[in-house]
């Protein structure tokens, strides 16, 4: 692999810098180096505490950024667009009749292979909300109440049709394992603003309907990027970060003693062997020790005002999606670049009506609260929120009460930093099968997100197996200009 060139150079630079600056510069760290190399940074001196801080490779930004960070709400399992954001009265009219073959011919089918394909009308009611008149399922009243901050994209498509590859595609732009997830790309490209937290954080919550599809850690893997860019899963149970807690019987002070002694000895060793890895090691031990304090403080939402807890509708530490939304807000406040929330249980092969009803109860208020809370802190303007499943569901019935996986057309929504609110973009055909107006693929979505962050998606690449690998792939992608504020 030659994909670590950036990091290797980063290391080389550290090494070479030390040769020039002599040993006095030791401990000043990479940020100082970056500022040495980049006059723009030099002009605005940073505190030297930023030890091994990665400055990002996109410097300066390719465009002025309209958003600084992203909260990505991954609705895992494949939410039905037909019971959420895409109203299809014609489908209701055709309920029970055979699906016209003209819609389905040559398309991928998952579990309905070989089955009789019958139209299955929307199972829930729709209603218009807000000044923009967004027509969405009436169960999502809270989201409806902030719909003027939201842009609904009703013409999404994806290449995959099974959960695992579809998540991979949505996260990495590729169905082959080993590619970096978008959060890794962003922290690689932009660095991280948080002091003692990782730049890419993942939160997961379970639904109550029991259709909790598995999610692999590869979904937040750094792939071929260095592992410092991998997503860190903040867990609801046990240590929020793996191995965060000191051993039983070891006090914070004693743990600090051990870390200090390790670092003191490492410094002495460095004086003998002159190895830049040792300075990094020392910085990482300091970072780890600080994380041991900062992460528990971060995840403890118990000191949030009652009003806020009521807004989200959660109890601190209940592991719910709402709790994770509140946690996401606390993370963006601390400067974390990319936060991905997985909420599972959207895989409604059967009982889509009850299933979506249950899901609406789990997420509706929380999504509204996240938008409202960020807005009242004046952070919505530079925080992008994306709500998306890995695919949608068929307009055809599965087993009389459910819908199968579907990738030819589905809906997502975006809100916040740089997004025009109160609008919709694209449309599926009259039965909700294929995206026909402004079809949007996953690469387009990624390109749009990168654009908002100030990155030209064709210019954020890393050499991998000879290719200039990009989040948006090699086949081209378009930025959804008309949804940008």
């Amino acid at each position: 692999m030659n994909l670590h060139s950036e990091l290797l150079q980063f290391r080389q630079q550290q090494q070479t810098r030390r040769l020039f600056l002599g040993r006095t510069a030791q401990g000043m760290g990479a940020f100082a180096l970056a500022s040495l190399l980049n006059p723009a940074l030099h002009a605005a001196p940073q505190k030297p505490a930023a030890k091994d801080k990665w400055p990002g490779v996109v410097r300066p930004l390719h465009f002025p950024a309209k958003t600084k960070r992203v909260i990505w709400l991954s609705m895992a399992g494949g939410p039905s667009h037909l019971e959420t954001w895409d109203h299809k009265p014609k489908l209701a009219a055709m309920h029970g009749q055979p699906m016209p073959e003209s819609f389905t011919k040559g398309k991928q089918i998952a579990q309905l292979q070989g089955a009789k394909l019958n139209c299955f009308g929307p199972q829930l009611g729709f209603k218009k909300f807000g000044k923009g008149g967004a027509e969405i399922c009436d169960l999502f009243e809270q989201i409806g109440s902030v719909s003027d901050d939201i842009c609904f994209v009703r013409s999404m498509t994806t290449e995959a049709i099974n959960h695992d590859p579809a998540h991979m595609f949505m996260n990495t732009g590729s169905q082959i394992a080993g590619r970096p997830s978008m959060g890794s790309w962003l922290t690689y490209g932009l660095g991280n603003e948080a002091e003692d937290l990782p730049g890419f954080v993942v939160l997961t919550s379970l639904g109550k309907g029991g259709q909790n599809q598995p999610i692999a850690a590869r979904q937040w893997s750094a792939g071929f990027l260095p592992s410092r860019f991998q997503g860190v899963h903040l867990r609801g149970k046990g240590d929020p970060v793996m191995y965060l807690g000191s051993p039983e019987g070891v006090s914070r002070e004693q743990q600090g003693d051990v870390v200090a002694a390790v670092n003191a000895l490492n410094k002495k060793h460095d004086a003998l062997v002159d190895d830049p890895e040792i300075a990094t090691r020392i910085a990482q031990y300091e970072m780890a020790f600080q994380m041991q304090a900062s992460v528990p403080e971060l995840v403890d939402a118990s000191k949030e005002p009652q009003k806020i807890l009521e807004l989200y509708g959660c109890k601190p530490g209940d592991g719910s999606f709402a709790s994770n939304c509140l946690l996401a807000r606390r993370l963006v406040e601390r400067g974390v670049r990319f936060i991905q929330l997985y909420h599972k249980d959207w895989d409604h092969h059967g009982g889509v009506k009850d299933g979506v009803t249950l899901k609406a109860a789990e997420i509706d208020r929380a999504c509204m609260a996240l938008i409202t809370d960020l807005k009242q802190r004046d952070m919505l303007k530079d925080t992008l929120i994306v709500w998306a499943g890995e695919f949608g569901r068929t307009p055809m019935s599965q087993g009389g009460s459910g819908r199968d996986h579907h990738n030819a057309g589905f809906s997502i929504w975006l809100a916040g930093g740089g997004i025009k609110g109160g609008i919709s973009y694209g449309a599926t055909d009259e039965l909700g099968y294929s995206a026909v107006e402004n079809p949007t693929n996953v690469h387009d979505l990624h390109a749009t997100m990168l654009q908002l962050l100030g990155i030209d998606h064709t210019r954020l690449s890393v050499k991998f197996q000879g290719l200039d690998a990009r989040l948006t792939g090699v086949e081209g992608a378009k930025v959804l200009k008309s949804i940008l504020a």
């Binding site: 692999m1 030659n2 950036e6 980063f10 080389q12 630079q13 070479t16 040769l19 970056a34 190399l37 980049n38 991928q108 579990q111 292979q113 049709i161 099974n162 959960h163 695992d164 394992a177 997961t204 598995p214 692999a216 850690a217 590869r218 260095p226 592992s227 149970k237 046990g238 240590d239 793996m242 191995y243 051993p247 039983e248 019987g249 070891v250 006090s251 004693q254 003693d257 051990v258 002694a261 390790v262 000895l265 490492n266 002495k268 060793h269 062997v273 002159d274 190895d275 890895e277 090691r281 990482q284 031990y285 780890a288 994380m291 997985y342 199968d404 996986h405 197996q465 000879g466 290719l467």
Partner: protein, 1033 residues
């Protein structure tokens, strides 16, 4: 990239000594492969390269013919020796952005130096060369007695004006060679022994000893397991387990036994196809099964068939060829001459692999160890001995035999009184499928309910029926051969009810006068009031309860009969129907009939008589022949049948059955491995346009070798198979295989490959700075008979390997990445070795080799996002908790978090290389993972027990254990201070000390002061966390 360029512009520019970043000999002629092709590939080939469909302006820069001809524009890209007339030169120097190449929108930019290189190269004649890796390796002559590595490294150093570094000190050297060859640290006494052995042959002797160690194979296996993507689980979606660990042990064994690399290769690709295939070679062929597979419902077979094909092609590309063939899945390769046809032709080699496309992998073949084979032989011997005894003539039962023949004949005659009834209809309330067999019996299959009622209707019944008979019959399709569907072959008939429906009348019950059975179960029958599962309870008029009914355990697996005597003779007229209901309400584990038959008799005696079941038809024929007229074979057949019946041989029969069961039980516990097996008809492989598996329009493809690489290779005139592929990979004409292996191996000993892009020796890879060295090693490897240990020996005994890893300032500047080997390198240990090192220092390591993967402690809930099924993680207990890292259970979607933190790959894709990151998670693991806390306290126990009397002696002892050296005085100060402080704190808070010492399952030494041990554990933690401890230098 940009940062770096800027760096050199601003700083290096000011310091002329550093102005030569590339270490090229001055004044050399421009070399196409070294200097020009990498620039072309990086900047130009995407539009002017091998992908024939993408060529812009009719110009291909990868072919000299093309550049010398006028392109579509009418201009000629290159006029040799005349840069001024070459359009290429104009276009790369122009300031007109419309004309500039590469175009600005490509975001590619040539440096001034690169532009000048083009000019010089054209001035010198613009000679092209075949890509370096596709040319046969050239073997430089190395004088006898000299080490080729040293010779070629020094030649290169001389060329570029660098000098070798001195040899590392002995303590460093012995640690280095232990980590590199065994992956374990040397024991302090081993360090001392080597440090004090001043003989010139000491190092060579040490190397030989390590090469002979069984841990050598473990160390060598790690890199191989990465590149072949060995893991314990399938990867996609549910990521469920599969049986594959014997392959890992095969790899370890292969390296230990120094299996020739060509044979190793053949066995993995085609171990099942070898003419002399053995268990060993078949286990090797598990390589073809290591890919990602799925069990996801709704996955389409064609989709995954295409995924598996591409996965396997990528694997061959990664493991043996270091070619990114995978890039040609959707289009011809952009940089290398690999076509999409090559890609699918390679895939077609694997179209014969038998496997479920979507679904659970099979259990695989049984892989007994040598010890297992001894036990199997013993069990087989025992069975054979008993069988022989059983088969031998048994004169003591001659009387019984004669008697049986009489009764069998009687049974035959009796049988003539019974007429099997053909049911007109059959039905099951429990949803079982009931099928009427040619012999009029009924066989149940499909859904197996705990309760069921079978209803049979008969219209054609003999007149004057005096009795009915229900035969419960064995069948191979049933559990334990039946006759019931319960797992043990039993059934419970709770009630049998017969009714007659005569035309125009109400159905009338048929009354029974008695019920008799060939056998009635008595054990267990505790819950049954009559203490047996009697025939009578099946006609007692009601169902009563679960504990009533006729059952036959343990006399299952054979025919049993229930004979029902009617209270009055029964005659059916035309149109009348006899209905028989078999109620089976036991309600537990499918105690229902599996195969049965009804018969009727008009003979009054037959309806009251239980006779043994009539012998099967083939024996009936023999029985009817007078004994003296039977042939020996006929007589023997009868005798064999009889031996299985009477009580006379019951004990022997039981012994024999027990022996057979013991063997089966032992066998089910043996390891299994999914391996390669050829389908008689391989799957059809087509070229998929743009990789789209739904597109059936592409040409059907047969296995074939990549056209541009297989030039001059003799190809068989038949469908090629995996063995042919292996032979081509190993052929002398193949310029890649030996280079690829040598290049990866070099990384194990120097930290970076000779060509640093280990998985790509194509155009986008790196021409090796020391090509002569890579070539020489490749030739030497091949010429030695693919002798891996020979190759390792050459490398590690070289002076180059033995240099110090501490670089001079000049070296750091001139060759920061140590690509020229004027010194050794240092790096953090691989994930598995970080663990092995701590376990060795602590004394916890269990050095057993091979076996099922093990589960080191892991944070609770780490697998919570797995599903289908929901998974728990039972950490291994006993010795398995302290095994080497390479035996860790490899759950692809959630690789053990400690391993992941130290850059272990997930092995979802082939990983020829590992990153070496330095991240805070590593600190958290070494500080807080129970494995390392437990190691620290076990190490502390050793320090207290073995380290001497006072604290300073113990510290010195501990240093030697962890680092192989004595502490320096200034190092002791902070550690001693911490020890004293923690000792006081733990003395004041013994509860904390005790809690600290409870981490992990390792036992505590008896009678130790907890505070003292806890304070030493703090010290041990420091040592286990040191950068030096986890670094090979």
């Amino acid at each position: 990239m940009k940062l770096f360029a800027f760096f050199f512009l601003t700083i290096v520019g000011a310091l002329p000594i550093l102005a030569a970043p590339a270490l090229a000999p001055a004044s050399a002629k421009v070399d196409f492969n070294r200097d020009i092709r990498p620039i072309l590939s990086e900047n130009c080939f995407a539009c002017h390269g091998p992908d024939a469909k993408q060529v812009k302006g009719g110009l291909r820069l990868d072919q000299r013919d093309s550049v010398l001809k006028p392109a579509k524009s009418g201009k000629t890209a290159i006029v040799p020796k005349q840069p001024a007339k070459s359009e290429l030169v104009r276009r790369i120097f122009t300031t007109d952005t419309d004309d500039l190449m590469p175009p600005p929108e490509s975001h590619k930019k040539l440096t001034a130096a690169q532009r000048d290189l083009f000019k010089r190269w054209i001035a010198e004649g613009a000679e092209y060369q075949t890509h370096w890796a596709y040319l046969p390796p050239v073997k430089t002559a190395v004088p006898a007695g000299q080490n080729g590595v040293d010779l070629l490294v020094r030649a290169r150093l001389k060329e570029i004006g660098l000098k070798s570094s001195p040899e590392a000190d002995r303590r460093t050297l012995v640690r280095r060679i232990y980590f590199d060859l065994l992956g374990l640290p040397p024991k302090p006494e081993e360090v001392e022994a080597f440090a004090s052995d001043t003989s010139p042959a000491a190092f060579a002797k040490l190397v030989e000893r390590l090469l002979a160690s069984p841990h050598y194979g473990e160390r060598m296996a790690i890199g191989w397991l990465d590149v072949v993507r060995f893991a314990d689980t399938i990867g996609y979606h549910s990521d469920t387990p599969r049986n594959v660990h014997p392959y890992r042990d095969y790899v370890i064994r292969a390296f230990n036994e120094n299996k020739r690399f060509d044979q190793f290769t053949r066995e993995q690709l085609a171990g099942d196809l070898l003419p002399n295939a053995t268990l060993e070679t078949r286990v090797g062929s598990a390589f073809n099964r290591l890919l990602l597979t799925t069990e996801e419902g709704g996955a389409q077979a064609k989709d995954y068939e295409a995924r598996y094909l591409t996965d396997r092609v990528r694997a061959v590309g990664a493991v043996w060829l270091a070619q990114t063939i995978g890039c040609a899945q959707c289009h011809d390769h952009k940089f290398d001459p690999t076509t999409a046809r090559d890609f699918y032709s390679m895939g077609a080699f694997f179209a014969d692999i038998k496997e479920p496309i979507v679904g659970r992998r099979e259990d695989g073949i049984i892989v007994p160890s040598e010890k297992d084979n001894v036990e199997l032989a013993r069990l087989d011997g025992e069975t054979a001995r008993l069988q022989k005894t059983f088969d031998a003539p048994q004169p003591q039962i001659a009387g019984a035999f004669a008697k049986w023949q009489e009764s069998a004949l009687a049974a035959l005659q009796n049988e003539a009184n019974w007429k099997p009834l053909a049911p007109a209809t059959v039905a099951s309330t429990g949803g079982a499928k009931l099928a009427i067999q040619p012999d009029r019996s009924v066989l149940a299959s499909g859904k197996s309910s705990d309760k069921d009622t079978y209803t049979l209707a008969f219209t054609n019944v003999t007149s004057g029926v005096t009795g009915l008979r229900l035969e419960a019959l064995p069948d191979p399709s049933l559990p334990a051969s039946g006759p019931g569907r319960a797992p043990n072959g039993n059934f419970v008939l709770t009630e049998i009810v017969a009714t007659v429906k005569r035309a125009e009348q109400k159905a009338e019950p048929v009354k029974f006068a008695g019920a008799r059975a060939t056998f009635e179960q008595t054990t267990p029958a505790d819950g049954n009031p009559s203490k047996k599962w009697s025939a009578a309870s099946a006609i007692d008029g009601d169902v009563k309860g679960a504990a009533f009914g006729w059952a036959v355990l343990p006399e299952v697996g054979k025919a049993q009969q229930l004979i029902l005597e009617l209270a009055a003779p029964l005659t059916l007229a035309a149109g009348d129907t006899l209905t028989i209901e078999l109620k089976q309400n036991h309600g537990n584990k499918s105690h229902t009939l599996g195969r049965f038959r009804l018969a009727a008799t008009a003979d009054a005696a037959a309806a009251r008589t239980i006779t043994p079941a009539a012998p099967p038809a083939d024996l009936a024929g023999i029985l009817k022949i007078a004994p003296e007229k039977r042939t020996d074979a006929q007589q023997e057949k009868l005798s064999a049948h009889h031996k299985n019946l009477g009580p006379e041989l019951a004990a022997l029969r039981q012994q024999l059955a027990a022996a057979k069961k013991a063997r089966t039980d032992f066998e089910t516990k043996l390891p299994r491995c999914i391996v390669s097996e050829s389908l008689p008809a391989p799957r059809t492989v087509r070229i998929l346009a743009r990789g789209n598996w739904m597109d059936d329009s592409g040409a059907v493809i047969q296995p074939a070798l990549p056209g541009h690489l297989a030039v001059g290779v003799k190809i068989a005139d038949r469908r090629l198979n995996r063995l042919d592929l292996a032979e081509w990979i190993l052929a002398r004409e193949n310029p890649l295989t030996a280079r690829v292996f040598v290049n990866r191996l070099w990384k194990q000993f120097f930290g970076t490959g000779l060509s640093k892009v280990l998985d790509d020796l194509g155009a986008q890879g790196e021409p090796p700075p020391n090509a002569a060295l890579l070539d020489w090693l490749a030739c030497e490897f091949r010429d030695s008979g693919w002798d891996v240990k020979h190759l390792v020996r050459i490398i590690v005994t070289s002076q180059t390997y033995r240099q110090t890893s501490t670089a001079s300032r000049e070296l750091l500047v001139r060759d920061p990445d140590n690509r020229e080997h004027a010194r050794q390198s240092r790096w953090r240990l691989d994930a598995e070795l970080v663990r092995d090192n701590a376990l060795t220092i602590s004394g916890l390591l269990v050095a057993t080799i091979g076996g099922p993967s093990v589960k080191p402690y892991q944070p609770d809930g780490y697998w919570e996002n797995l599903n289908f099924p929901v998974r728990s993680y039972p950490a291994s207990t006993g010795e398995d908790q302290h095994r080497r890292g390479l035996y860790t259970w490899w759950q692809r979607s959630f690789v053990h978090p400690s391993m992941l933190a130290f850059d272990a790959p997930t092995r979802e894709e082939c990983a020829a290389d590992r990153a070496r990151s330095n991240i805070p998670q590593q600190a958290l693991v070494l500080l807080n993972d129970p494995t390392y806390v437990e190691s620290a306290r076990a190490f502390a126990s050793r320090i207290v027990k073995e380290g001497g009397a006072d604290a300073n002696a113990r510290l010195a002892w501990a240093w030697k254990q962890a680092l192989g050296r004595a502490p320096r005085a200034d190092e002791l100060v902070p550690v001693r201070a911490l020890f004293d402080k923690h000792l006081a704190q733990y003395k004041a808070d013994t509860k904390a000390a005790e809690a600290f010492l409870k981490v992990g399952i390792a036992p505590l030494p008896p009678a130790t002061d907890p505070a003292e041990l806890a304070a030493w554990t703090s010290v041990a933690r420091i040592l286990l966390n040191l950068h030096e401890t986890i670094t090979r230098s």
